[in-house]
C-alpha cells in the first residue's frame, strides 16, 4: 500500500502529451496545479476548482476528466493529454481545432482547451454523433463568450471531417 504523509513530497511521474514529466509534490496537490505550476503546461486552465466549469478538462488515459478533481499523485504512471498535444505540428491544427477557428467557436479562449479535450475523447468514442449528443457533452463546460452555437457547429463539422465525409475542408 502506497502511503504518503501530509507535507511529504513524493516523486510523481507520468506521460504528458507523449513526453515524460515528473515532479516532487505533496499528496494534496491537484493535477491542475501540477500541470500549470510544476510542468509549466499552462495550456490547461483553472476556472472553478469544484468540477463545474470544465476549463481544466484533460485526458487521463484517454478519458476526459477534470484535472481540478484529480490529485497529481493519482496521475502517477498514467498518460495525461492536454490541449498542447493536439495539433499534429507547427504547420497545421487538427480537424477539431481548425473547425473551432472556422466557426468562431472561441473568443477569450479560456474555456476552449477543456472543451477541445472533452470532444477529443467524445469523438473518438462516438465518431458520428447527433447534435443532441454533442450538446449533452458540451453541457459539462461553461463558456461565457460564444453563446455555444458556434461550438456545436464546429464539433459537428470536425466529426464529419474526421469521418472523411466532409464536403468542405476545415479552413
Amino acid at each position: 500500500m502506497l502511503r504518503i504523509a501530509p507535507g511529504e513530497r513524493t516523486l510523481v511521474t507520468f506521460e504528458l502529451d507523449g513526453r515524460p514529466v515528473s515532479g516532487h509534490v505533496e499528496p494534496r496537490m491537484l493535477l491542475s496545479d501540477f500541470l500549470r505550476q510544476v510542468a509549466g503546461a499552462t495550456g490547461t486552465h483553472v476556472g472553478c476548482e469544484h468540477g463545474v466549469c470544465g476549463c481544466c478538462t484533460v485526458l487521463l488515459d484517454g478519458a476526459a476528466s477534470r484535472s481540478c478533481l484529480t490529485l497529481a499523485v493519482q496521475a502517477h504512471g498514467r498518460s495525461v493529454g492536454t490541449v498542447e498535444g493536439l495539433a499534429p505540428g507547427e504547420q497545421a491544427l487538427n480537424a477539431l481545432q481548425a473547425a473551432f477557428r472556422k466557426h468562431h467557436a472561441l473568443q477569450c479562449g479560456f474555456c476552449t482547451p477543456g472543451i477541445l479535450m472533452s470532444f477529443t475523447d467524445f469523438l473518438a468514442r462516438n465518431p458520428a454523433p447527433t447534435e443532441d449528443q454533442v450538446r449533452d457533452t458540451l453541457s459539462g463546460h461553461i463558456c461565457r463568450c460564444t453563446g455555444y452555437a458556434p461550438i456545436v457547429a464546429a464539433v459537428m463539422e470536425a466529426a464529419r471531417t474526421l469521418r472523411g465525409d466532409a464536403t468542405e475542408n476545415a479552413a
Binding site: M1, R28, E49, L69
Partner: protein, 275 residues
C-alpha cells in the same frame, strides 16, 4: 480553494483498504472517483486526516452479471457502466438514470458505488438502487455484510456504513421480463443536483414509485395496480408526507407539487415500457 493536508493511502487490495480503514476509521475518507470528494476537499468542507484511494484496486473494478443482478465494483466508473451495450436490457432503469448523473466528463471518473455511498438525497443512483431493491456489499477486517438499499441509506449523507467499512460493490437486480421502468428529473440545468427525481417500475401487480430530492433519502412506495385509479390521491398524500426541504432553487411546496405533477407521467412511462 486548495485541500488541507492529508495522508494519502493507496491500497492495492481490498484487504489493504480494509486495514487502512480499520486503522483510521472516521478520520479517513474513501476516494474512488473523487468527483464529489475532491470538490469538497477543495472547498474545505471536509476535514479528514487520510484519503484512501481505492481507484487502483483491481478486485474492485469488476462488473459481474449473475442470474439475479448486476454487481458493480467500487472502482467502476459511471461511464463504464453506461457504455455497456446490454445495459438497457440488464438494468433498464440504470440506463435511463445514469445519463442524468453529472456530466460526461465527471462520469468518466465518478463511480456508481461512490455516488451511492455518498447518499446525497438528490442523487439518481441511490434512488435507482432503492427503487429496485438492490444491495450494498460492505467489507471490513471484521468481515463482509450485505445490506438492502433501504437499510443502507439512513438519511442526509448518512449511511449504515461503519467507519471501518468499505463499500466494495452494489448489486442492481436485473430487470424482469414484462417489467417497465420510467425516470424523470427536474433540475435547474442539465447535470445539476436534482430538485426532484422520480423513478418508477411497473410490475405485474404493482407499481414501485421512487422519489428523490424531497425527503432526506429516496422514498419508495409500492402501489398495487388496483389502486391506480386513486393515484392522484395517493401521490398527493405521499407528497404531503414527505414534506420536502427548502433551498435557494426550490421551496418545499414546489418540490411537493413536482411530485404531484410528475408521478403520473413517470408511472405511465413505466407502464408503457412494460409488457
Amino acid at each position: 480553494m486548495k485541500p488541507r493536508p492529508f495522508t494519502y493511502l493507496r491500497p492495492d487490495t481490498v484487504a489493504e483498504a480494509a486495514e487502512a480503514l480499520s486503522e483510521w476509521k472516521e478520520a479517513a475518507r474513501v476516494m474512488a472517483g473523487g468527483q464529489t470528494l475532491i470538490a469538497m476537499l477543495n472547498l474545505r468542507l471536509v476535514d479528514c486526516e487520510a484519503i484512501v484511494d481505492i481507484s487502483r484496486v483491481p478486485e474492485l473494478s469488476a462488473i459481474t452479471r449473475t442470474k439475479t443482478h448486476l454487481e458493480i465494483g467500487a472502482a467502476v466508473t459511471q461511464n463504464r457502466v453506461l457504455s455497456r451495450p446490454e445495459l438497457a436490457q440488464e438494468v433498464p432503469l440504470l440506463a435511463k438514470a445514469l445519463p442524468w448523473v453529472g456530466h460526461f466528463q465527471t462520469r468518466n471518473k465518478g463511480t456508481v458505488c461512490g455516488s451511492i455511498a455518498h447518499a446525497d438525497p438528490s442523487s439518481e443512483l441511490p434512488l435507482s438502487l432503492a427503487l429496485l431493491g438492490g444491495e450494498v456489499v460492505l467489507r471490513s477486517t471484521r468481515g463482509t455484510r450485505v445490506l438492502k438499499a433501504a437499510e443502507f441509506q439512513r438519511g442526509l449523507l448518512s449511511t449504515a456504513r461503519e467507519p471501518d467499512e468499505l463499500v466494495t460493490a452494489v448489486r442492481f437486480p436485473l430487470g424482469a421480463k414484462g417489467e417497465g421502468t420510467g425516470f424523470r428529473e427536474v433540475a435547474r440545468r442539465h447535470g445539476d443536483f436534482a430538485i426532484v427525481s422520480l423513478a418508477a417500475r411497473a410490475r405485474a401487480d404493482a407499481i414501485d414509485l421512487g422519489i428523490g430530492g424531497v425527503a432526506d433519502r429516496p422514498a419508495v412506495r409500492t402501489i398495487p395496480r388496483a389502486d391506480l385509479s386513486r393515484l392522484d390521491d395517493i401521490v398527493d398524500a405521499l407528497a404531503a408526507e414527505l414534506g420536502g426541504f427548502e433551498d435557494i432553487h426550490a421551496t418545499a411546496r414546489y418540490r411537493r407539487d413536482l411530485v404531484r405533477r410528475l408521478a403520473r407521467p413517470v408511472i405511465d412511462e413505466a407502464l408503457s415500457c412494460s409488457a
